[in-house]
């Protein structure tokens, strides 16, 4: 006991001032590391300073999967936080856990907090609504894939900013001819090249409205249209126009170092890119595959939302509701949006940022919102709701890597991904009854 008491005494000293007396503590587990972690802390601090009944305690729990698993393990042991940040991939898992989550819209109603569903940007919240339109979790950090480009390199190579895949090809060719190591690359390939590619061209990626209509959904992204696009990209890889640079954001240095002139990934990389790129860069909408559609539909979001977990007392939920109100207020949202590059979740925050002249000072930062709200979302472009989706994305990663590596054709890779993915969906369907 002695080691513990000595050390915990010093721990208390270290976090001195954080000891609360009459305040109700609200635990908020999140996955925001680095500078975004500091911003999360600031939001909590500001909220805590704005009133004295509740105290939000943000806890950084590692990356998205670690945070989610830690919260679920804690839930099973009845030691879970009030609020946990879960990435969009975990949505179906959270949704299926009926006794474990407290739908945000319900929470707001029960706690008597004002809540207006129409205030939110449709493309952002539709991903997290039930088929009846009830909001399940509070969007927090949302982004969408955009095409980042190195303006200096494009100019030097005499290439235009592409709007279609054909132009991506010609621009890449010009960039490589002008001495670049590669023309284009991308990260989060399942999100960018399967999920968003399908939504952007108004193609379903699975049956039952991409899973929104029920757990008995099946994947269908192994269609000829997606396969043709991926085959073309694989060919570009063979010609040296496309270089695969890893999962998630691992390929970011390829873009910021000037190896690749174009990069498709989350709009939220704005901060990292502006810190590291010593060239003029810009972002534009995802390219269109003119063989599939004449005009783009809308892209879908990624990122994470805040889920409220069940099993706490009323007082804590009151505080949670108050905090979520605070969090979605135009001022906080506009600040968060402008600092991080994530999209604002309410129309008011978007308007406020406009008023403040943010988009004039930082051209391109509204591309993500424009792309998300280009059209009213259809069943194909509302979002994705598949169970076991973390594993399905791994499967997609694995199969696409086999494609880039030249071991499989696009059709073979997609067929395998769909077959393995459907097995995972069936397993999920059985577990989520």
């Amino acid at each position: 006991m002695s080691i513990k008491s000595i050390l915990s005494a010093s721990a208390v000293v270290a976090v001195a001032g954080s000891t609360a007396f009459a305040e109700t503590e609200i635990q908020w587990w999140h996955a925001m590391g680095g500078t975004n972690g500091e911003r999360v802390n600031k939001i909590a601090e500001d909220f805590n300073a704005s009133q004295d009944e509740y105290k939000v305690v943000p806890v950084y729990k590692g990356n998205y999967t670690e945070t989610m698993t830690a919260a679920i393990a804690a839930f099973r042991a009845k030691e879970h936080p009030e609020i946990v940040q879960v990435f969009e991939v975990g949505t179906a898992t959270m949704m299926a856990a009926k006794g474990a989550v407290y739908p945000v819209e319900q929470l707001m109603k029960d706690a008597g907090e004002p809540f207006d569903g129409d205030a939110f940007l449709p493309a952002v919240v539709s991903y997290y609504e039930t088929p009846e339109g009830e909001l399940l979790s509070m969007p927090f950090n949302s982004s969408t894939p955009v095409l980042w480009y190195n303006k200096d390199a494009l100019d030097a190579a005499g290439a235009d900013v592409p709007t279609t895949w054909e132009e991506v090809r010609t621009a890449s060719q010009k960039l490589v001819d002008n001495g670049m190591k590669c023309g284009v690359s991308f990260g989060y390939q399942s999100w960018v090249m399967i999920e968003n590619f399908s939504a952007w061209h108004n193609l379903p990626s699975g049956t039952k409205e991409n899973g929104f209509g029920g757990f008995d959904t099946e994947l269908t992204f192994n269609n000829d249209k997606v396969a043709a696009r991926l085959d073309d990209i694989a060919d570009m890889g063979k010609e040296g126009l496309f270089v695969y640079g890893g999962r998630r954001g691992d390929s970011l240095p390829m873009f910021t170092n000037g190896d690749c002139g174009m990069w498709m990934n989350s709009s939220a990389y704005y901060g990292s890119i502006s810190e590291q790129a010593d060239f003029e860069f810009g972002q534009t909408m995802l390219p269109l595959d003119t063989k599939i559609a004449d005009a783009p539909q809308n892209s879908i979001i990624g990122g994470a939302t805040l889920w409220v977990l069940a099993g706490h007392d009323e007082e804590e939920y009151k505080g949670t509701a108050k905090f979520l109100s605070y969090l979605s207020s135009p001022e906080v949202q506009a600040w968060w949006h402008q600092e991080t590059g994530y999209v604002p979740i309410t129309t008011a925050a978007y308007e406020l940022s406009k008023e403040q002249g943010f988009y004039e000072k930082n051209p391109g930062t509204d591309i993500a919102i424009k792309q998300l709200s280009l059209n009213t979302p259809t069943a194909n472009s509302r979002g994705i709701r598949y169970g076991n989706f973390v594993q399905i994305r791994d499967v997609i990663n694995e199969e696409l890597e086999a494609l880039w590596g030249g071991e499989k054709t696009a059709k073979e890779a997609l067929d395998a991904a769909v077959e393995r993915g459907n097995d995972l969906l069936r397993r999920f369907e059985r577990s989520a009854k």
Binding site: T35, K61, K78, P253
Partner: protein, 283 residues
């Protein structure tokens, strides 16, 4: 040496120096990375020679919040947590294994073999493989966010017991006979004879277990929710994967350097006992 040939001697040293350089290279690069500013660390190729930001980075790492965004957990506290965890695991495991090995080797009692096999099937299976059920047990016992929860579950392993059993089996039977003639009871025999004989093995095990404890990261990640319980290795893993951001290598590597110092110090300081204890018995 058997004969003296200058060229052979030169070659010997050359190979060894090359070996040392190859082994040390990753750490040299860590050090170099910790001496540059974040901007330089995003440009290819990464530097081979130190820059001039070492003190700035160290200051930010040690006294700033680093960059992990972990509110209120300064690096010195993480180091302290790691130290506590490593010490509790190493001493705890040594004590329980000494005792159980003593019982199994020197006593004949009912269920001896049952106990023996119960302990021995725990050999080798890493905690990662049974991490979620173990987490539930720890949570049920109310040991989350405590040094007990951090360390005790990792003590459940047979390696140390196995080693002490080997050591005790090599102790000549005459030792016990003469001790009994002198009228020594089991405990006196244990403290006066077995413990001193196992000195080097205890030291070797201490080094191994200290490092094992210090290097844990997945377990602490799961069972600590209070940021003041963060350990240093866990924080490095966390820094590597900040969402939608590129890693800030200069700070990560400065933290990595700090995280390496204590276990490396333990290995080097206890080198002689460590080597003896490892190589002289258990083969």
């Amino acid at each position: 040496m058997v004969e003296n040939r200058p060229f052979a001697t030169f070659l010997t040293h050359l190979v060894l120096v090359l070996g040392v350089i190859a082994i040390a290279l990753p750490v040299w690069i860590t050090f170099v990375a910790a001496t540059h500013d974040p901007l330089r660390m995003g440009q290819a190729p990464l530097p081979m020679w130190p820059g001039d930001h070492f003190l700035t980075n160290m200051k930010q790492t040690l006294f700033g919040s680093g960059l992990s965004g972990t509110e209120g957990a300064p690096v010195w506290l993480m180091l302290l947590n790691s130290l506590a965890m490593a010490l509790m695991i190493s001493t705890g495991k040594i004590i329980i294994s000494l005792l159980s090995a003593f019982a199994i080797v020197y006593f004949k009692f009912p269920f001896r073999m049952t106990f023996f096999w119960m302990i021995f099937i725990t050999l080798m299976l890493p905690v990662e493989v049974r991490i979620l059920p173990t987490f539930e047990v720890v949570a049920d016992l109310g040991m989350l966010n405590s040094y007990w929860g951090l360390s005790v579950p990792l003590i459940a392993s047979a390696t140390a017991t196995f080693m002490f059993r080997q050591v005790f089996l090599t102790v000549p039977d005459e030792m016990l006979e003469s001790a009994r003639i002198d009228g020594a009871g089991p405990l006196r025999f244990f403290f006066d004879i077995l413990l001193p004989l196992s000195r080097t093995n205890i030291a070797a095990l201490f080094v191994i277990l200290f490092i094992y404890g210090w290097n844990q990261y997945l377990w602490p990640l799961l069972i600590t929710t209070d940021t003041s319980m963060t350990t240093i290795v866990m924080s490095i893993k966390q820094m590597l994967e900040a969402a939608e951001q590129s890693p800030q290598w200069n700070i990560i590597m400065a933290t990595a350097l700090l995280a390496m110092i204590p276990p490396v110090f333990v290995v080097i300081a206890m080198q002689k006992l460590f080597v003896q204890g490892l190589t002289e018995t258990d083969k």
